[in-house]
Structures are given as structure tokens and as C-alpha cells.
Amino acid sequence: MKPCGRLVLQMARRMGSCEQKVSSCRQFSSEATAHDNIKVGTLCEMELAVAKQLNMKSHLPAPLSKQMDTLGEIVTLIREPIAEIASCMRIVDKNLPNLRLVLWGAFGTGKTVTLNQAVHHAYTNKWAIVHLRSAMELTRRVKEIEMSSFVSGRINDPSNAVAILQNFKQQNQHIWKILGVLLTEKDYEWSKSERTLKGKPITEIIEMGISAPFLASDCVGALFRELRRHAKDDKLKVLVAIDDANSLWGKTLVKRADRTYAPPSDLTLVVHFRRMISNDWTNGCVLMVADKKEVADARDELGVSRHTPLELFGEEGFEFVEPFVPIETTNYTESETDALYNYYVNKNWLASKAARSEEGRKQLMHLSAFNPYYYERLCAFN
């Protein structure tokens, strides 16, 4: 689909088949002026080390992460949506309630990749990143549950909570020292024996959660609360990136004791993430992806679900998420496909002679119907 990564490259089209310079650069800095912005339609590479830190391998869509392994680099196309997100992130201010953006679009148009590009952008601008790979994991891929001792009726998910904390730790290594300076505002009594005292760095909460899975869900909640507090105090800016965010109001596969499915509002992690989305805190940006996975039914051969936000979030979710700025991801334009095509040709990714011809270029474009996912798949097989 989309190669991932960020490097400034010249428009490959002009240079024809000559090799592209690979040099890392920081794009979309928070105080960037117009001319600093990378032009929409160019390819950008992400450094592998950065990608590793940001755990891109698991967060990117599968075809792309496999391509990352094969080609040894992550190169993505900069398109309209990420430019919009970057401009929105520039507006984030300590007085402004958190800006909510919802990425929506048809299948295979680049929602997840844009989200990851935004995460990288946040990284380069030293924001704190709360990145959730997929909210569906919280609602539908719950391996084991525990009833919460903190609030009765809530259901904890130790394995997912630990994963979230570990992911947070890994992704925020670039600001770990800053996080180490931020202090907790109150005593946290996790259980009778474990507690975190007031005035301790919040990194302790993370460590506590990772070491004790049965406390992890509560630690996640505490961590998020501290992040919100410190963002309000303008200590740091926070990007909350949730893929498949509409699943937070969707279907659950968690069974309660009476063999009924628990609603998502009964799951602690879902509640914590919903609090991160709600706009009672400032100095942050919440980037959500509305994905059809939640409502699409594989057994329904005739129905086609919509991919628009109201349909996917549902009434309750929509009213919670409002007011937000919807950002649409669309199919490629011809120039975008050209840029990608030239990249693939240079990388010798397009193997067959037919694919490398002019005729092949046009065919690939049209066969995929300009859909980024199918374009990548076609190029992989030709």
C-alpha cells in the first residue's frame, strides 16, 4: 500500500530513473513556516532506528511492514491528509481543548498509514505519544479478564494493559527524561501492598504496571490522567493516536459471569481511552481512525457498510467524539501513482519487464483503480 517512512526526496518523476537520495530529515516541525513543509506528493523515508523505536512493524498494515523487512526501508507518500493533520497539530495550544481529528475513508486509502505518519511527526516534534494499535484488540481480543477492584462491575484486561504500557514506554523513549521529571499529583494505592506516592515521577507508574499485570489496567488509567494533567500545565503536548477508534463504541466479545457480552463501557481500558478522547483537557491532539472493520460482516454477502463517521461510531460514539474535524483519505491521483511507480522501479521491486514499460505503468494504475492498497499488492506481484 503505502511505503512508509520519511525522507526528503526529490520528485522522482523529474529525475526519471536515477537513484533517489536518501537522507533523513525532520519534517513538519511544530513551529514550521510554510516553506519548510514537505510538498504533498513526495515520498518520505523513515529511519529504521526510529521505526524500530516507534514499533512500526506491528503498527503498520501487514503488507507494508513486510515490505519494510524486504526492502529494508520505510518509504511512504506524503498526501493531503497528513498535511492537514500536521497543520492541525501546529494549532495545538495549552488553552485550546484537545483537537479531535477523525480519519475516514474507503478501504485501502491510507488511514492507518497516515496515522503512523502522524505518530512519526509527533516523534520528530517531541510530543508524547499514546498510540493504540487497534481498539478492536481491547474489545474483541481479550485473552483473560479480571474483575476490577477499583470500580465494581468493571472488567480489567491485564495482558492488553501491559502491552499498552510497554508500547508507551518504547514509543516515548525520546522524551523519557522529560517524563521522568513530571511528578504524580497524589498517592496511588494499587493494592494493599503496592502504592506509588505523591511526587514520584510518572515513569514509576509505567514500571509498576509492567511488572504487575493485575495492576496494569489501573496503572494505564493513572498514567493517562497524569499525562492529561501535565498537558494542561503545558509541560508536554500529547498525541493520542487510536486506530479503529470506532470500536470503542462497538461490539465486545468479553463475556460476563452471566454469559452475556459486556458492553464496552464496562471495560476499564476502553473507559481510559474514552477519557483520553474527551475534550476536557488541553494541549493535545486526538487522532482517531474510523474503520469499517467494526461493522463489516463477512457473512453478509449482499450488504455493504458505509465508511462514514456517523455510521461507524454510532450515535453514542459520534456524540462523544463531537466536535471533531473529519479528514478524508482518498484514492491516489495519477501523479501520486507515478511517484510510487518510479520508486518501485528504482528499487527493482517491479520485477517483470512488462511492469517496467509505459504500458505496464498505465495498466498498474488502472487495474488497481487507483486504490493504494491494491496498487501496492499489484506492484508486489509484478
Binding site: E322, V325, E328
Partner: protein, 356 residues
């Protein structure tokens, strides 16, 4: 039975008499006749009457008749039919006695009746034949198939014309206002009733679907108050079409069309009167009970107002007047079918309002 008089052969004379008659005169046989008759003069020696001697039968002998037959001079006796008088007593079919000058078809066949082959003057045939070229379908006399099917012989154009002429004096002309401008029909005639009639060729001419009645009413013309109109919409359920504002009542629960029509009228009346009733519990209606989501009073509006204020204070070029426009767009977005284009419009207006 009538017997034609014929001359019996037994009264004919013998061959010898004939010859004698042929040779002799008229009175030749008188003496003989006298003797044969047994007169007083003709007595024998003993004084007894003369007894005629039977020598030859008084008929044509077999040989003679055979000769006559062979030569072709035999008298052919025409025997009449045994049922001849019965046949003569029967009249020919009526269709043969019809004269277009003297009779009118609508007098002969005034109403629908089963096919009567003797009355219908048409040489109509009906029947399935394996090879139509060789043998024609069966004729109408005694043809049950012609009897079984429905015929429309009572509906000749002339008959129809006569019916129309008879009814015309009870009719009024079609309203010229409706003829000139068909679009004002709903305002003058707000209720439209639709039903279908089905014609079948077969053993059963009936169709159960002909009792279905569809009644379409334009709700605006009921002139209900706002609350009553909303109540009507709720009562009607999916019979009410929001886009066209029409209430459609389809009934087929009664056996006949007339009954279904009456039922449809009854339903409309009940809906109207129930809609006009205001119940005490209707006061308990909340925002979540509304049929449509309103922008005013929604959490979105309050959050937006808050956001716009804060955005202004942090330096964005917000547009407050755009909030009303946004509210309109939001209401359409929430209450009608969501499309990609509507979502894009939502995005555009949001960005404009917040000054992004």
C-alpha cells in the same frame, strides 16, 4: 306418424285378368265378377255358391319384381323417416332466423350470459386438435369449452354506447380545472385509492389480489397541528413516507374490495382523531424521544460554543455566525442518509467555523 296412402298390391287383379282386360272389354269380367262376388245367378249344379279357386296370389310375383328391378323399372317406394314428424315439429336455431335489419343484438343478448350456440350467429369453433390443418376445431353446437369460458357478447361497442347514453344524463362533466392543471389534484382530492382488477383465462377467472386497496393521503391536507402531525407520524410508523409526506394505507384483510375500502377509510378516521388527542403522558417527552435529532439543546452545540470561544482566545480565526449554518447542516447530517459528500461538507464547515 302419418301414413302416406299407397295402393296395396293385394287389391290388384291377377295376370290372367289383366290380359283379359287388355284384350277384352270392360264388361268382360262382369260375369266373372258376378260369379266371384257370389251373386244369386252364379250357382253351380248343386245350387251352392261359387267358390273361387285360389290359383295365383294377388301380387307381383318374385320373378316379376326381380325383372323389373333388373331392368330398372321397379317402383321405388320412398319410405319416410321414422322421426320425420318429430323433426318437422322442431324449429331451426334462432341464429338462422335473425335479420340485422329487423333485430338488434343488444336486445337478443342484453346481459352477460353463458354461451348459447343456437343464439350466437357466428360460425365460431373451439377445440384443440392434433392437426388443425386436417381437422378443424369442434363446432359450436354442443361445445362445452365455449360454454365454460367467459364471453363478452353483451359488450359490443353499440351496446356500450347505449349504456353510456343511458348513464350520461346522471353524469357531470370532468372538472376543467383538473384537466388543465393536474398538479392541483392533490389539494382538491387529497385521498387517492388504488386497486387492481385481474383478468384470467382459465378455469378460474377470479384473482384474490383484486381485493387489495391502497389508499394514499397527503398528510399536509389533514391540517393537523404540529403535535398532532408528529403523533400521526408516530402512529403510522412505516406507512408514512417522510420525503413525500404521504400516508399509505394498504389493506387486504377483508374478503371483498368494498370491505377493504371501508376499513381503509376507518383507519384514516381513527388515525386522525387519535392524532388530535393530547394525552397527559405526552408532557413527559424528552430530547431522546424526538423523531429527529435537533441541534439546539444537543451536547454538540454546547461543546462547539465552548470550543469556538477557546479557539478565539488562542488566536484562531473563528466564525461564530457560521454556527447557525453548521447547525442546519448538522441536523440534515444526523437525520438523513449519511453520504461521503455530506461528511465532506461537515468537515468543510467545521474547519471554517474553527478557523483551521
Amino acid at each position: 306418424m302419418h301414413r302416406l296412402s299407397h295402393i296395396g298390391t293385394r287389391s290388384k287383379s291377377t295376370l290372367a285378368d289383366k290380359l283379359r282386360n287388355a284384350v277384352g272389354g270392360a264388361d268382360y269380367g262382369k260375369s266373372k265378377q258376378a260369379m266371384a262376388a257370389g251373386s244369386l245367378t252364379a250357382k253351380d249344379e248343386n245350387g251352392e255358391d261359387f267358390r273361387e279357386l285360389y290359383v295365383m296370389p294377388k301380387r307381383k310375383l318374385r320373378g316379376q319384381t326381380q325383372l323389373e328391378q333388373a331392368t330398372g323399372r321397379a317402383e321405388v317406394k320412398t319410405r319416410s323417416r321414422f322421426d320425420l314428424m318429430d323433426r318437422l315439429a322442431e324449429r331451426p336455431p334462432r341464429s338462422e332466423e335473425m335479420d340485422p335489419e329487423k333485430h338488434t343484438w343488444s336486445d337478443i343478448w342484453p346481459a352477460a350470459r353463458t354461451f348459447a350456440s343456437s343464439v350466437v350467429p357466428l360460425p365460431v369453433r373451439m377445440g384443440s386438435r392434433p392437426n388443425v390443418e386436417k381437422r378443424a376445431p369442434f363446432k359450436k353446437e354442443g361445445n362445452l369449452e365455449l360454454v365454460k369460458i367467459p364471453n363478452f357478447l353483451h359488450l359490443t361497442p353499440v351496446a356500450v354506447q347505449q349504456h353510456c347514453e343511458a348513464i350520461k344524463k346522471f353524469c357531470t362533466p370532468y372538472p376543467p380545472e383538473l384537466l388543465s392543471d393536474a398538479s392541483i389534484t392533490p389539494s382538491l382530492l387529497p385521498i387517492s385509492v388504488q386497486y387492481s382488477t385481474y383478468i384470467h383465462q382459465g378455469t378460474n377467472i377470479r384473482d384474490i389480489r383484486s381485493r387489495v386497496i391502497t389508499m394514499i393521503v397527503d398528510v399536509d391536507y389533514l391540517k393537523l397541528s404540529e403535535n398532532a402531525a408528529e403523533k400521526l407520524v408516530r402512529l403510522a410508523g412505516n406507512r408514512y413516507n417522510q420525503e413525500t409526506g404521504q400516508l399509505t394505507i394498504i389493506t387486504d384483510r377483508c374478503h371483498t374490495r368494498k370491505q377493504n375500502l371501508d376499513y381503509a377509510h376507518y383507519l384514516l378516521t381513527v388515525l386522525y382523531h387519535e392524532a388530535n388527542k393530547q394525552e397527559a403522558w405526552a408532557e413527559l417527552k424528552e430530547r431522546s424521544d424526538n423523531l429527529q435529532v435537533e441541534f439546539d439543546g444537543s451536547t454538540t452545540k454546547s461543546k462547539l460554543e465552548d470550543l469556538i470561544e477557546k479557539a478565539k482566545s488562542s488566536g484562531l480565526k473563528t466564525d461564530e455566525k457560521a454556527l447557525a449554518e453548521f447547525g442546519e447542516m448538522w441536523k440534515t447530517y444526523r437525520n438523513t442518509e449519511e453520504t461521503a459528500e455530506k461528511t465532506r461538507e461537515y468537515g468543510r464547515q467545521m474547519k471554517k467555523m474553527l478557523g483551521i
